[in-house]
Chain length 449, copies 2
């Protein structure tokens, strides 16, 4: 087996298991980890310094093989709850009828496309379906480059947009050994905790402007500014309305498009809106969709202004074998029905406020918490060594993630220093779950301090 | 709606519906086509000049809304048969238990990985899971470039390897408006019908050698030679054993890898072997897997020599959210069980010979057939204007595909001129289905001649 991996000091995987340290594992876990490395190789990383094995799941809970219950506060895939009966029934039913691609006429894909498009502004008139968020962003940027004839892409400095060659090329959070494209320019995220400005919109626009000029100077031009409107990989920064608009005006003046990456914050999670960008009074040119779209079924896609899709659609013969298949459409339709029928957007808003209030209350008693922020059921808690200097405390964040796992509560960490706890529970979290989380969270804080 | 699309004169979509020609459609179909263009845009193309709507499927058959039965001789996705009960039951059962990603410990993914690796040579020691064949090829080539430090990729002149920016960049069959990467070099496929040589292995090696030299001359180096060992997009050319080996020796001498794209011809379809490359007494560095892997569930992946995966795995933090999830593994495991338990590889060999013999017999009565070739249940019938000149007859191939659709038999066409009928039925085709196909095929030949 492979034991050469060095734990990184930064980035998304700081809370992962270090395969070089198997000595603390029990024999069964050690045998598992060795077998896993032998069969899957070094790319397959596990969460937690003490990896956990789950054997079943239901609602907001996962269960290990001894039947212990874990509160899942980190699930943006089966986001309407593990094993949701409505979604599972829809998938099973369609599998019994027919699973086929989009080269034949079917009403199902059109009915769902219409329902999905109803959640967007009228300018956004087409949807196209892929299987993963990476495929969605890859398609979005191929389209943006084809439409504009330009090459340049501007993203925030710790963004993550996918695992294909193109999308990894504009995912700086992938770290030191993953090369960025020569056509990529970075801007700092509008960090509401550290940036001192009276006008964050102008602050961001000034930085975007610099990069647009550099792209023009190098003859690359601007194809797109791509942003997750909650800046989740940068550290989770909800913004006041209007913060994006000045930057986007410059982007469009430069002939570029705005691609809203909603893979993380779309589908009602931010509480007050279905889509994260809708907090900002802007209409994107392309919206990419992914993770929670089929409650675990691999379905993703883009929503796009028709004029942007036109030339790409004619020129490229794009086809995605599994994308938009009949079962994928049944899964996505059922998931959206659950979000709408169970009022999960309102639930995110309501329970999110309870959780934010609870976290802010806890912060009054714990100096190690520098900042609490979030919207709906997407929250960040920034750990610092000192509130005055705001020095990031990666070690404390790592300890908390692992301590919470021992208390059977699942979260992770994000940002350049991985010192921002990433709390992202199911959209179906209720007040009882929130209370259980908050009690466990404060207990873990005490345990690690 | 969009009506600006011009039908292409060549390539994969020659048998597609032309949205500029809606006047021959019945009112329901016309309304459908218009609604589809309005919601999905111009990239969504339909098969056949008279598009067909299906409402259910079972085994090797699809059914339209009037209950008419269509023989599906073109399905490489639900390849063990539409709605196979064993696969559907496995998916439904796992969905009830748990759907989760690979960051937690699970035996399921390891058990399936072990079973899958048993079908490869011992040099191939790791598997990694994605959702689509495009993702698999994108990952394979990212890894090949990372491992070798080189940029160049050699493919055959009408190859198709995927729809991401990277894979579309080495998919010349995407046509005139889809740019190839500057790091791509093309070689002609070893066309057993037109190339006149006593030694196809040396013939191919000479062409690969030229491109290796050009890549070195431009300072790009060779990362990989990528080939579908049946050259399905080039026109379906089964080869004598040993044809690939001289070229691969050169590839490896140049520091490049061999990536076997088994998305089309893998999983027993070629009859005598589980994997297409195994006809050739070579062991690839990376094997990419896709379409039929989960009988419709979006699951794909790569199998790879451990030394090739090593550095990429450590350096890049590659993660695929849906790839290798518990339900995907249940689907893939059940599909492989069906292939093995129902002896489908032997069935492909047996029924494939019946179909090839039948097609060759038909060819004795029809001058328009220039060549019949294939292995297992992957067959090509090349239509020509004249057997002496071998001039491709695209029009005749197109007419046949559409005439067969009217007779409720589904196939398509491939190659640069789209004059090679692509016959690729379910692995479960039996002698009765083969006879029904052959009878319909000759009837269609008579109807269009």
């Amino acid at each position: 087996m492979t034991t050469a991996q060095k734990p990184t000091k930064r980035g998304k995987m700081v809370n992962g298991f270090d395969p070089a340290n198997t000595e603390n594992l029990d024999p069964r876990a050690r045998a598992f980890v060795e077998r896993r490395a032998r069969l899957l190789g070094p790319a397959y990383r596990l969460f937690y310094s003490n990896p956990v094995e789950f054997s079943r799941a239901n609602g907001v809970f996962l269960y290990d093989s001894d039947g212990n219950e874990y509160l899942d506060a980190y699930n943006n895939v089966v986001s309407v709850g593990h094993c949701h009966p409505h979604v599972n029934a829809a998938i099973a039913k369609q599998m019994e009828v027919m699973c086929t691609h989009t080269r034949y006429m079917q009403d199902g894909i059109l009915d769902f496309a219409e329902t999905l498009l109803d959640t967007f502004e009228t300018e956004i008139g087409h949807v196209m379906f892929t299987c993963t968020g990476s495929e969605a962003n890859d398609l979005a940027l191929r389209m943006a480059k084809h439409h504009t004839g330009n090459q340049g892409i501007i993203v925030t400095s710790e963004a993550y947009h996918g695992n294909s060659e193109l999308t990894a090329g504009f995912s700086p959070s992938m770290g030191e050994n993953s090369p960025l494209g020569t056509w990529v320019r970075l801007v700092p995220a509008p960090d509401t905790y550290r940036v001192e400005t009276q006008n964050m919109g102008e602050w961001l626009a000034a930085r975007v402007s610099e990069q647009i000029h550099d792209l023009h100077r190098r003859g690359q031009g601007l194809a797109a500014f791509v942003a997750d409107s909650l800046f989740t990989s940068d550290g989770i920064f909800p913004q006041d309305p209007g913060v994006l608009k000045p930057a986007l005006d410059l982007v469009r003046d430069a002939g570029g498009l705005f691609v809203a990456d909603e893979v993380q914050c779309g589908f009602a999670r931010t509480g007050t809106h279905m889509w994260g960008y809708q907090h900002h009074d802007v209409v994107p040119d392309i919206v990419s969709l992914g993770k929670p779209m089929g409650n675990g079924y691999p379905v993703a896609g883009i929503a796009v202004r028709p004029e942007v899709a036109e030339r790409f659609g004619h020129d490229t013969r794009y086809f995605n074998t599994f994308g938009g298949n009949t079962v994928a459409m049944a899964a996505a339709k059922a998931t959206l029905e659950v979000i709408q029928d169970e009022n999960l957007q309102e639930n995110c808003d309501h329970v999110g406020r309870i959780m934010l209030d609870g976290l802010r209350d806890i912060a009054t008693r714990h100096e190690s918490i520098g900042d609490v922020r979030g919207t709906g059921l997407y929250m960040g808690v920034e750990m610092v060594q000192d509130r005055a200097t705001k020095t990031p405390d990666s070690r404390s964040a790592l300890s908390l993630v692992n301590e919470l796992r021992e208390q059977r509560i699942l979260i992770s960490a994000t940002s350049f220093n991985a010192n921002v706890l990433k709390i992202r529970p199911h959209l179906t979290f209720d007040k009882g779950h929130a209370d259980r989380f908050l009690t466990g969270f404060e207990k873990a804080l005490k345990a690690v301090s």
